[in-house]
């Protein structure tokens, strides 16, 4: 996995160097220097690292990548749920998409769905949606339930 990341890093940096060379005039100097610097240093580091006997990375955020296959699949499923959440937001609206994402994410993490999880997340999303509308004023994507909540709050307040 480390090799894949290293490959992606070098490929992206090479693409950036290429983009820098497309810039014309004096404006090209800074991006060329910075991108070539990044590419050269990353290659130097990765080669030195590959030759070094022991891994030196902090490995912090990448901890999940060392999970056994079954658990890694569950981790990937949680990631997929939240990626799908962003795609679904404009269509399903904030309330439905958020509730489904939270509930499914918790169910996958705990290994089973639970009624308390379903009710708890629904209550949280409802309270947060109300807060968004009357305190935070963040215009979130709307679907039928969000619009109904809007109407309800408008009539009440």
């Amino acid at each position: 996995m480390r090799l894949v990341f290293a490959g992606i890093l070098v490929a992206v940096l090479a693409a950036i160097v290429w983009q820098s060379t497309e810039i014309r005039g004096s404006a090209a100097i800074y991006p060329i220097v910075v991108s070539i610097g990044a590419l050269v240093c990353s290659v130097a580091f990765l080669v030195a690292r590959a030759l070094a006997p022991a891994p030196q990375g902090d490995g912090g955020p990448a901890i999940g990548l060392r999970l056994p296959a079954g658990r890694a699949l569950r981790l990937a499923a949680v990631a997929a749920v939240w990626l799908a959440y962003v795609v679904a937001l404009p269509y399903a609206g904030f309330m439905v998409a958020s509730w489904v994402a939270l509930f499914v994410s918790l169910a996958i993490t705990h290994g089973r769905p639970s009624l308390s999880g379903a009710l708890g997340t629904a209550a949280f999303v409802l309270v947060f949606a109300i807060l968004i509308k009357i305190v935070l004023y963040v215009p979130v994507p709307q679907a039928w339930p969000d619009q109904q909540l809007d109407i309800l709050l408008y009539e009440w307040l």
Binding site: S42, F45, R49, D58, R71, A79, V86, A101, L106
Partner: protein
């Protein structure tokens, strides 16, 4: 100035200060969640507040989280944040001797003392430094940014090429968008949304919050349960005060050291307590007690960590250069509120600055009180399951990235940043130089362009002694660091041959 102090002491400001400290302590106490994470996650919450209230709340989160990390370190020997490792050595050893209330009390009071001393330094040093910075031109800013990046690169323990790669990557991220010379799009790969550059908050949330949430999910899936915290007796403030009076000079030394290290870029609260602890061990009459439950060791660690917080805010507010990763995230918050960190802040919005100074002092006083009387109750929150924390962290990260300018594209920027952070973690490139360079990249490029346009050779630089001085110090640091690294390499090769 008095108007600012009065605003800071208003009921509303104090409410936000308490809220910030409590949220910070909770975040810091949960192992795995850091102060940087807390600030990044809660920046969007400050949207609706006046800038000064938002800053006070974020300062409360910063100071509270750094302190909160010690609660789990003392009670469970699990540092809530990396800064609390030394507190765990001393505090947990004290807790095992049945002195948990005393350890928690010392931690709260020493943290308060360190914070208050750094707040006083913040109050007096920042305007002086800002006044000096008003005479800065483009070359001085270039020199200062290069100095900060060099410090970040040479100070970190990770391989030097990894650190330099990180810094260059940050500069690349900062140069996405319209280029300041031609006004044309750069590194946008066909996404018109990138013309305005990468959203700072989205990138920082992606760097600090999402990867941490994924670690929490992985831990929850692996069956790592929440921890059990037993009942802790109430702290006796008199006993704690007596201990701190005994260690008053140690506390003062550690606070000054913490503040000084905080001013340096890249020397965050993580390494500060180790330095303070080592120094005090050498100066102590009972060095053998250090590391085995020494009250003095705990005082040294706590005062220095807390003082580092205030110290890291000094270059941030006076020069626009963050002294730590968390302070770098602070810049995102200031920008969001329309404030430009740097010397002009004192000219344009002095009331905000003085309110913040007084608010930061209040934050540290409140943190002490909350710590002394509430730490044992806040420790109960450690029982929250990791899976639940992770799901809500992901949800709030996404909401925060979206809410910055109600743009769904920012969420993808956040995901990409998280992927980058995890990838860099996997190959061993540290994230701190990336963040510092990302924050400072715009300043560097703009001022470099101005400097190059104005300069007509070496004479121009000779007329800027301050810039030359900073460049000379930077060159010296590079030489010293290279010398030390070469020495280490030589020593290793000699050892290998032997």
């Amino acid at each position: 100035m008095w108007e600012g102090i009065a605003t800071a002491l208003s009921a509303l400001s104090l409410t936000f200060a308490v809220l910030g400290v409590v949220l910070g302590v909770i975040i810091g106490a949960i192992p795995g969640l850091t102060a940087t994470f807390g600030i990044a996650l809660l920046i969007p919450v400050t949207f609706l507040m006046a800038p000064e209230h938002g800053m006070i709340m974020l300062a409360g989160i910063y100071a509270g989280a750094i302190y909160g990390g010690s609660i789990s370190a003392i009670l469970l020997n699990i540092p809530g944040t990396p800064a609390s490792i030394v507190s765990g050595w001393e505090g947990h050893a004290l807790a095992k001797q049945g002195k948990a209330p005393l350890a928690l009390g010392i931690s709260a009071l020493a943290s308060g003392v360190g914070g208050i001393i750094s707040a006083i330094a913040l109050m007096f040093l920042t305007p002086t430094l800002a006044q000096l910075a008003l005479s800065f031109g483009a070359p001085e800013y270039v020199a200062l940014v290069v100095f900060s990046l060099v410090i970040a690169v040479v100070m970190l323990d990770t391989p030097i090429f990894a650190n330099i790669t990180g810094a260059f990557l940050g500069l690349i991220l900062a140069s996405v968008g319209v280029d300041p010379v031609n006004g044309t799009g750069r590194f946008i790969f066909g996404f018109y949304q990138l013309f305005s550059g990468l959203n700072v908050v989205a990138v920082l949330v992606g760097f600090f919050c999402l990867p941490q949430a994924i670690v929490l999910v992985a831990e929850a899936i692996s069956g790592v349960e929440s921890v059990a915290v037993g009942r802790v007796a109430a702290t006796k403030p008199r006993q704690v005060l007596a201990q701190l009076m005994k260690d008053r000079w140690l506390a003062l030394r550690s606070s000054v050291l913490g503040t000084g290290l905080g001013i340096l870029p890249a020397v965050g609260p993580e390494s500060t307590p180790l330095i303070a602890h080592t120094l005090e061990r050498r100066l102590s009459k009972e060095p053998e007690k250090f590391g085995k439950g020494s009250e003095s060791g705990l005082v040294a660690a706590e005062t220095s960590i807390s003082a580092n917080v205030g110290g890291s805010l000094i270059p941030l507010l006076a020069l626009g250069i963050p002294g730590s990763g968390a302070a770098a995230v602070f810049i995102g918050a200031l920008t969001l509120h329309g404030l430009r960190p740097g010397p002009l802040l004192f000219v344009e919005r002095p009331e905000v600055m003085y309110t913040f100074f007084a608010g930061f002092l209040a934050v540290n006083l409140l943190k002490t009180v909350i710590g002394l009387y509430g730490a044992r109750y806040l420790a109960r929150l450690l029982v929250l399951p990791r899976g639940v924390i992770a799901a809500f962290v992901i949800f709030f990260s996404i909401f925060g990235a979206y809410a910055v300018d109600t743009n769904l594209f920012n969420i993808w920027v956040m995901f990409a940043s998280a992927f980058l952070a995890m990838g860099l973690g996997a190959v061993g490139i540290p994230i701190l130089p990336v963040v510092l360079a990302f924050i400072l990249g715009g300043v560097l490029e703009r001022n470099l362009a101005i400097t190059l346009a104005r300069s007509d050779g070496v004479v121009y630089f000779l007329e800027r002694p301050l810039a030359l001085g900073i460049f000379a110090v930077t060159a010296m640091i590079i030489l010293l660091s290279t010398w030390r690294r070469l020495g280490r390499l030589r020593k290793r090769s000699v050892e290998a041959k032997a």
